[in-house]
């Protein structure tokens, strides 16, 4: 039998309305990483995308950049994050949720790419999203290291990505494919009719991987319209915005998630 990753298992069991929530590690407080993860998992979120803060996050809009700056001021780093994540799979509530790390190439390189993959896999992370790791470098240098450690790697596609390239990025990805709803930085307002046409096109391409839609998903309406033509969606900026004003993380995260999937 072919070995299936935790993320592949999640999509095997649930083909629709898969919810992935992004948050920045160490935000709003340094020690909030695990409580936020736990509340998300308990609220029924399928995948958690943990942002590793970077000083110059090119693909992100102001909300995520702001949370990254605050997390860095709080003292967050890759090293600190792995320390916080140590043993999280032993927590019953977090045993089965999919966990993906999202971050930029430079901090990962400084940590040491191979060491990063070793440590990520050993704390129980399932996959990686590194938006500025281009497919050429992935094929030449980094892909084999990622695979060796049993981690999934998720590429992004946008409405500007040619069909041929979508197939190529799909073939290189494992776990899922991240469909950016429009060519834009995170957190903007999107015109969802255009997005639907684009997602329909992706749906007809017969891709190997399930597709999650990100950028511009902020509420029940946008979540469900994204899910119409994809396996699920990713919420980032809207969650960070809401997180920044929460007084009680565990109850308010539950409310936030309920409003989306309820």
């Amino acid at each position: 039998m072919i070995h299936m990753s935790r993320i592949q298992n999640i999509f095997n069991q649930k083909k629709q309305n898969v919810l992935n929530v992004y948050f920045t590690a160490g935000y709003p407080q340094l020690t909030d990483t695990l409580p936020v993860m736990k509340s998300l998992a308990l609220s029924g979120v399928d995948l958690i995308e943990i942002g590793m803060p970077y000083s110059d996050p090119l693909a992100d809009g102001p909300v995520i950049q702001d949370s990254s700056s605050k997390a860095l001021l709080n003292g967050m780093s890759i090293q600190a994050l792995f320390k916080q994540l140590e043993g999280f799979r032993k927590d019953h509530d977090l045993a089965n949720v999919g966990v993906v790390l999202m971050g930029y190439m430079n901090p990962v390189l400084q940590y040491g790419f191979e060491k990063f993959c070793t440590d990520a896999a050993s704390v129980g992370v399932d996959g990686l999203i590194i938006p500025d790791l281009p497919e050429y470098e992935f094929e030449e240098v980094y892909g084999s290291i990622i695979k060796k450690h049993g981690l999934d790697f998720i590429f992004l596609v946008t409405p500007e990505t040619t069909e041929e390239r979508v197939h190529k990025l799909d073939a290189l990805s494992t776990g899922f494919l991240y469909a950016v709803s429009s060519s834009a930085t995170t957190g903007g307002d999107k015109d969802f009719t255009a997005v639907e046409t684009y997602l329909q096109k992706l749906q007809q391409m017969d891709l190997n991987n399930p597709v999650l839609v990100g950028f511009g998903i902020k509420d029940k309406t946008t979540f469900h319209s994204a899910c119409k033509h994809a396996n699920g969606a990713i919420i980032g900026s809207a969650f960070i915005q809401s997180l920044s004003s929460m007084n009680n993380i565990s109850t308010e995260i539950k409310d936030f998630v309920n409003k989306i999937i309820g």
Binding site: D56, L58, A59, G61, S77, I78, N106, Q110, T185
Partner: protein, 394 residues
Amino acid sequence: MKDFQQPTEQGYYGQFGGAYIPEMLHANVEELRQQYLTIMHEPSFIKDFELLLKDYVGRPTPLFLAERLSKQYNTTIYLKREDLCHTGAHKINNTIGQILLAERLGKTRIIAETGAGQHGVATATVCALKGLECIVYMGEKDIERQAPNVARMKMLGAKVIPATSGSKTLKDATNEAIRDWINHPHNTHYIIGSVVGPHPYPDLVAKFQSVISKEIKLQLKEKTGHELPTHIIACVGGGSNAAGAFYHFLNAPEVKIIAVEAAGHGVNSGMSAATSQLGKPGILHGSKSLLMQTDDGQVVEPHSISAGLDYPGIGPLHANLFETGRATFLSATDEEALNAAFHVSKMEGIIPALETAHAFAALDQLSFQQSDIVVICLSGRGDKDLGTYMQVMK
């Protein structure tokens, strides 16, 4: 022989370069990568480029024998007068090239980042010339310290948008410009001002700026009978004037190449922009190069009195020159640069830009033979820095 000019097809100079960009930028950068060489080699492009450089920019710029400085250092010193270019600096060589490229790519909206404002002014100028919309991102801190250039850009019809994130300087203006490009994937061309950014930018900017060393060779031949100097000296922030001044000498090992970085308050003061001394290999703005960063890989905020050198990286071409030892990297502090600016003004009747003053400051750190031929790239004029110079004179 080792080729220091031409990157590989993937944009590498040694281990530096490449295109570390998110997928949202791929279509734009790929379009440029596939077309830039073809367009730049078209006879009509070459004709338009050369004509504008001649009639609009005022090229060739003179190669001036600086007699009093030569006497002081007991050698022969020539100044390549990029300060006499239209708009007052070498930056326009690149913006002329890129606006012609943008036209041929069918782009109607131009964006740029700027530090000292020279590149912003040069971009606003060519956009006015071609009647194209122009948006310039500039760090909030730089807007304050370079007010005359902000006014010039506005007068030329450009919209200046303050970058308010991070250190509010050139690095952040570049982030904002790249984000703008992500958000406008169809009609917009991004005119990068230095030999930085994802491939093919470092190469295309170096090629447009290489007119500087092309002219130096011809002018030296005419004046001295030899086309090669013994030393070529230029300041390096991102490194565009240096790339242009070095370009045609890179593969001639007998020419000593000297790059001068901004040491700020001193290389080890914690307030510096001397990237080659303080940086480690890393990725910023889409390419791998030397980068000032913490052990955790967060980009460090640099410091220089000169906004144009206040950048935590250097172009990948320069990183390779540093790593291979092909170029000597020196640095000058804020104070040394200021002293040099006043000295050159009094000795040669030329008020240099603060950036350029760093190149002159390096003269005190070098020793020359009487028979040497030293060329300094006088990259820009000092009008924009009068505010800073006036404070010193108080």
